[in-house]
């Protein structure tokens, strides 16, 4: 195809954040009417490039041509005027407004918004949404919508504004498999209507399913551009990660478990709404053992993690840790007893985004004599200690003091692991530890968990990633409706059985499951 068919041409784009080069002389072209996948690990610079197209960041240098015309995109508004719409990873929706209000947000025509005008708009938007098979409730605030529905609102928002080029930034990372399928159908429908789409992702299977054309980025540089026919999952993985690591099978040796470290008996956790989120469960975690907890989100995983880390108190039953019964322990007591925690949302409850590396690393140990004397921080020792830790855990950072919010997700997670493993935990509670991480970082996380087990700690791994749970766990508990709906040992696990247990098959309301049933 000729050069003129490029709807987007980015030439020699450079963008730096502090000392981190997010985009290093990048060239990027997209042809009209295609679905173009931009592939790369987290922190490869995909989002940065896309944010430049949507006017959120400005390039330090380089040119952007839209429809063959040199364009300066200085704001989201200008991007919109050029016909570019973006479906963000973290949705750009105002939670408190309804779907329709969000879609018409920013519209300048017609200042008066009486009820007849709103009714007309609702009809107009419902019609537009129907055209592409996108349905969502239009009259309730956004926060009441499911994630999939919110994404549909985002898509309709770009269409309503007449977008011809739609950018999807990691659109599948928040969706269930069913929702992903539906999204892909929508994208095909959009393509039939002549829209051009860019999808950024690090999931290879999705790229091979949906894309026509593929570009691969790594560490801020554009590595390769090819059509789908030229690509294979293996070749893409190698390009993306940069080394032949993707095909290395993951090996974990089976070792004898030690004495029980955590024993949960008849545990009930009750939420504020007086619902038993965890309902009379029994299980134990031993030394030298990884216990995986599988289940569909919202079946009690969050409460289980919170009660074991002191963020929530149990309602009845008991938790025995290291032969000691825990009654209403504080978070601090549990840390001191040797329970480490990788929380579900690392930026919300794991790290303090605006603080630097050292401060984040010290958060659990700042009281100790190694870190402080008479309440004063030992600056020099702490600096050395932190430098050692980030070297040991391979955290890549420009320096020790810039805010950790600026690190990529993988580096944040490694930093979190560095802090938690450094306290020599007897028990590690890891919740969705690889969520949103790329292949390389996820592998590093898995290795750290296995190493922890091999050195004698117990690990409770709560995850929605079935692959991960099956790979790592010596024993898998399946949570359904706050109860353990089945226990499966390593080797006996297969996807179908776990899937059925997760979906609540074999589950009887009110039935009490004995611990340690092997399915």
């Amino acid at each position: 195809m000729s050069q003129s068919a490029n709807v987007i041409e980015m030439k020699d784009i450079v963008k730096t954040f502090g000392e981190v080069v997010a985009s290093n002389h990048v060239n990027f072209e997209v042809k009209k009417g295609e679905i173009h996948a931009l592939l790369g690990e987290n922190g490869a610079g995909k989002s940065t490039i896309m944010s430049m197209l949507s006017g959120i960041y400005r390039a330090d240098s380089g040119d952007i041509y839209i429809n063959g015309k040199l364009s300066r995109i200085r704001s989201p508004k200008e991007s919109m005027e050029l016909g570019i719409g973006m479906v963000h990873q973290n949705f750009r929706l105002v939670d408190t407004l309804t779907a329709v209000e969000n879609i018409i947000l920013g519209e300048k025509s017609n200042k008066w918004r009486g009820s007849s005008w709103m009714k007309k708009k609702i009809e107009e938007i419902e019609e537009l949404a129907d055209k592409y098979g996108l349905t969502f409730p239009t009259k309730v605030p956004i926060w009441q919508l499911s994630v999939g529905e919110q994404q549909r609102v985002e898509i309709v928002k770009t269409l309503y504004r007449g977008a011809e080029i739609i950018i999807f930034d990691e659109p599948t990372s928040v969706l269930t498999p069913g929702e992903v399928e539906q999204l892909f159908l929508t994208m095909q429908e959009l393509k039939r209507n002549g829209k051009t789409m860019i999808i950024t992702t690090h999931k290879l299977k999705e790229v091979m399913t949906i894309a026509d054309q593929i570009s691969v980025m790594r560490k801020g540089t554009m590595i390769a551009q090819m059509s789908k026919e030229e690509a294979t999952i293996q070749s893409l993985a190698n390009l993306m990660v940069g080394q032949n690591m993707a095909d290395e099978g993951f090996s974990i040796k089976v070792i004898e478990k030690g004495k029980p470290i955590l024993d949960v008996q008849n545990l009930v956790v009750r939420t504020k709404l007086r619902i038993n989120a965890i309902d009379r469960i029994n299980f134990s975690v031993h030394e030298y053992e990884i216990v995986g907890v599988a289940g569909v989100a919202g079946n009690g995983q969050k409460e289980l993690a919170e009660v074991l880390t002191g963020l929530m108190q149990l309602y009845s039953g008991q938790i025995v840790f290291n032969n000691e019964k825990l009654t209403a322990p504080s978070v601090q007591q549990l840390i001191d007893k040797g329970i480490a925690h990788i929380p579900e949302n690392r930026m919300k409850s794991g790290l303090a985004g605006s603080l630097g590396i050292i401060d984040n690393l010290m958060m659990k140990t700042y009281r100790s004599n190694a870190r402080a004397k008479f309440g004063l921080m030992k600056k020099k020792e702490n600096m050395e200690w932190a430098a050692n830790l980030i070297k040991k855990f391979d955290v890549r950072t420009p320096d020790m003091v810039s805010p950790v919010a600026q690190l990529s997700g993988g580096n944040q997670q490694k930093l979190l692991f560095a802090r938690e493993i450094d306290i020599n935990p007897k028990l590690m509670i890891a919740v969705h530890p690889t969520q949103g991480l790329d292949v390389g970082a996820a592998k590093a996380v898995h290795e750290m968990l296995v190493q922890l087990r091999d050195s004698g700690s117990g690990v409770l791994l709560i995850s929605e990633d079935l692959e991960e749970v099956m790979q790592l766990s010596d024993k898998i508990l399946v949570l359904y409706n706050g109860k353990i709906n089945g226990v499966i040992d390593r080797g006996q696990a297969n996807r179908e059985v776990i899937g059925q247990l997760m979906a609540g098959l074999n589950y009887k309301e009110g039935a009490f499951y004995e611990p340690e049933i092997v399915v």
């Binding site: 960041y57 704001s75 919109m80 929706l93 519209e107 008066w112 918004r113 009486g114 919010a405």
Partner: protein, 309 residues
């Protein structure tokens, strides 16, 4: 029963100054900016009113000068909080301290000088004919009607216009608003300045109608009560109307009880509105403990486009 319309009328005249300040505060906070400068801005409004009116004897010029002076303070707060992204609490407190000091200095020449003003009153015969209601609303001054109209106008503005939708979006989620082509800075500047002008009008009303001579620090905490009232009113201009009259009623109740010589120390009576503020906030917090908060979600947070989320 004669006394009830009197109490209500007193509540209205006592609450009108507060109402202007609360409406101004709502505009600020809806855009996502806390304005703790209310007390200082009211004082500047009041002292400028006294000075200009004694010089010119012209109500319009007085009001115009008040709007300019307090609009300028609003601009200062906006510049600090929006452009320089300073801490809004500190900036607001600085403006209150500045306004308190400056008004005391400027007001020296007019301290205690009675202001010979007559505010136009609205006489509506058909309204007077209605029992009780007629008694309450008979002969209220024009600014009271203006403040009531303003509450309704702002309500319509906030809930029935494109600007109102944008304002809510800017206060709740500035980065999304920005992505949707709404100028966050423009909305914030406009509403902080307009809101500050309303706080100036609150000072103007206080000195021109409620207590017509300048006394240093004469707002005596009304600015702070107005800030609490914003929460009481749940950021709704119509609720603000009732909230302001409620506190206005408490204020004049304390005042009147002194006249009737109840055997209660006057300091105690003066304390009533402030103690009520504490109790009402506790009550509201308790009542709404399980409801989603209606506070603008990004209240107090400066917006910076390139900040990583």
């Amino acid at each position: 029963m004669e006394i009830i319309p009197l109490i209500i009328a007193a509540a209205i005249s006592g609450g009108t100054s507060l109402l202007f300040a609360v409406l101004g505060g709502i505009l600020n906070e809806k855009a996502g900016v806390i304005n703790l400068g209310t007390e200082g801005i009211m004082l500047i409004g009041a002292v400028m009113s006294a000075i200009v009116f004694i010089q010119t004897n012209n109500l319009f010029i007085t009001l115009a000068v008040v709007l300019i002076a307090t609009g300028f303070l609003g601009l200062l707060h906006a510049f600090l909080c929006i452009t320089l992204r300073a801490n809004q609490t500190v900036s607001g407190l600085a403006i209150t301290l500045f306004g308190t000091g400056l008004s005391a200095y400027l007001g020296k020449s007019v301290a205690g000088v009675p202001i010979p003003v007559s505010i136009p009153k609205v006489e509506l015969d058909w309204l007077d004919a209605i029992p009780i209601i007629g008694q309450i609303f008979s002969g209220l001054d024009i600014f009271i009607w203006l403040s009531i109209a303003l509450s309704i106008i702002l309500y319509v503005y906030m809930y029935k216009t494109a600007w109102g939708l944008h304002l809510k979006a800017v206060g709740d989620n500035p980065s999304t608003s920005d992505a949707m082509g709404i100028s966050v800075a423009a909305y914030r500047y406009f509403h902080v300045i307009a809101g500050s002008m309303l706080m100036g009008v609150a000072g103007f009303y206080l000195i021109m109608v409620y207590s017509p001579n300048w006394i240093e620090g004469m707002t005596s905490g009304r600015g702070w009560i107005a800030i609490a009232l914003i929460i009481f009113a749940r950021w709704n201009p119509i609720y603000a109307l009732f909230g302001a009259y409620f506190f206005g009623g408490l204020d004049s109740l304390g005042f009147r009880m002194q006249i009737y010589e109840f055997n209660i120390p006057s300091y105690f009576l003066k304390m009533i509105p402030y103690a009520a503020t504490i109790f009402i906030l506790m009550f509201i917090g308790w009542k709404n403990r399980n409801k989603p908060s209606v506070e603008p979600k990004s209240l107090g947070n400066p917006y910076f486009r390139e900040q990583r989320l």
